[in-house]
């Protein structure tokens, strides 16, 4: 039942989960075991962590968004038109 042998597909799935701190102990052990015999997934893991670090630098730039005045006015007009249509019914 406690099977340590996993495929590269499964190993990289665990690796992806662990980027969010969501891999459980069993999964982490399976991943470590897999790394012993798989250079490719070790490389994947390294590059995956690097991507996570790049993402961290991107996130800082996110700001609150707002619609432009024009967009709002257009939407306001659309709502009024819609409401009037309803009034007529």
């Amino acid at each position: 039942m406690f099977n340590f042998k996993i495929s590269c597909d499964q190993a990289t799935t665990i690796c992806d989960k662990s980027q969010y701190g969501k891999a459980n102990l069993r999964e982490i052990l399976q991943l470590r075991m897999h790394f012993f015999s798989c250079k490719i997934c070790r490389l994947y893991s390294k590059q995956n962590s690097l991507m996570s670090r790049i993402i961290k630098t991107m996130r800082a730039e996110q700001t609150v968004c707002a619609m432009s005045k024009e967009q709002k006015e257009r939407m306001r007009a659309a709502i009024e038109k819609n409401a009037r249509k309803k009034d007529l019914k």
């Binding site: 495929s7 499964q10 992806d16 969501k22 490389l43 619609m67 709502i79 819609n82 409401a83 309803k86």
Partner: protein
């Protein structure tokens, strides 16, 4: 319009009071400004249509957010059902003796020893951003919610009506695809 102001609904003020709130709510889920805006507009239209059903139990804003939530699920289902175009390229053998192994032409290549040092490079961030935009919609949406906006797994599952194993498959495919895209566009050649 005031004839419909029953239970305190004031549609003539919706834009001023709720447009920005709903827009932010929407864009933090769907990611794309155009689509976020459309969903807000659809929410207002649906709100107008359903005004008679408003019982005044919840606040006007809560009521509108509930409508928007449905719109977001509907949108996710729509992009999710676009088969073919909405799939990322496979990276592993799907069956046979090699099931779960890396497909030969998809095996990760070394990125060069200076990859780590380039982290602060703005262009590197831009490349990754472009790669995220290239993901099929459903992958981009889930990936961004989870990775860029720190939504919890539970919350994403609830808001998009998917299971957690579903979510991890999507994250896995998104990340393997992104890795490959970074390799093709930045690190190799």
């Amino acid at each position: 319009m005031t004839t419909y102001a029953k239970h305190g609904l004031r549609p003539d003020q919706w834009i001023d009071l709720y447009a920005d709130y709903l827009y932010n709510y929407s864009i933090s889920r769907v990611g794309k400004p155009e689509i976020a805006k459309d969903l807000v507009q659809e929410t207002f239209f649906a709100g107008l249509k359903a005004m008679e059903n408003f019982e005044g139990k919840a606040s006007e804003r809560t009521w509108l957010v509930a409508i928007l939530k449905r719109k977001i699920i509907d949108y996710y289902r729509k992009v999710n059902s676009k088969k073919g175009k909405s799939e990322v390229r496979m990276n592993f053998y799907r069956d046979g003796a090699k099931e779960g192994d890396w497909l030969e032409e998809r095996v990760p290549q070394t990125w060069g020893s200076d990859a780590d040092k380039k982290i602060e490079n703005e262009e590197l961030g831009n490349t990754l951003e472009a790669c995220i935009e290239k993901l099929p919609e459903k992958y981009a949406m889930v990936f961004k919610m989870k990775t860029l906006r720190d939504f919890s797994t539970d919350q994403i599952c609830k808001e998009l009506d998917i299971t957690s194993s579903n979510l991890w498959v999507i994250i896995h495919r998104a990340r393997t695809q992104l890795r490959r895209c970074m390799e093709d566009n930045w690190f190799v050649k």
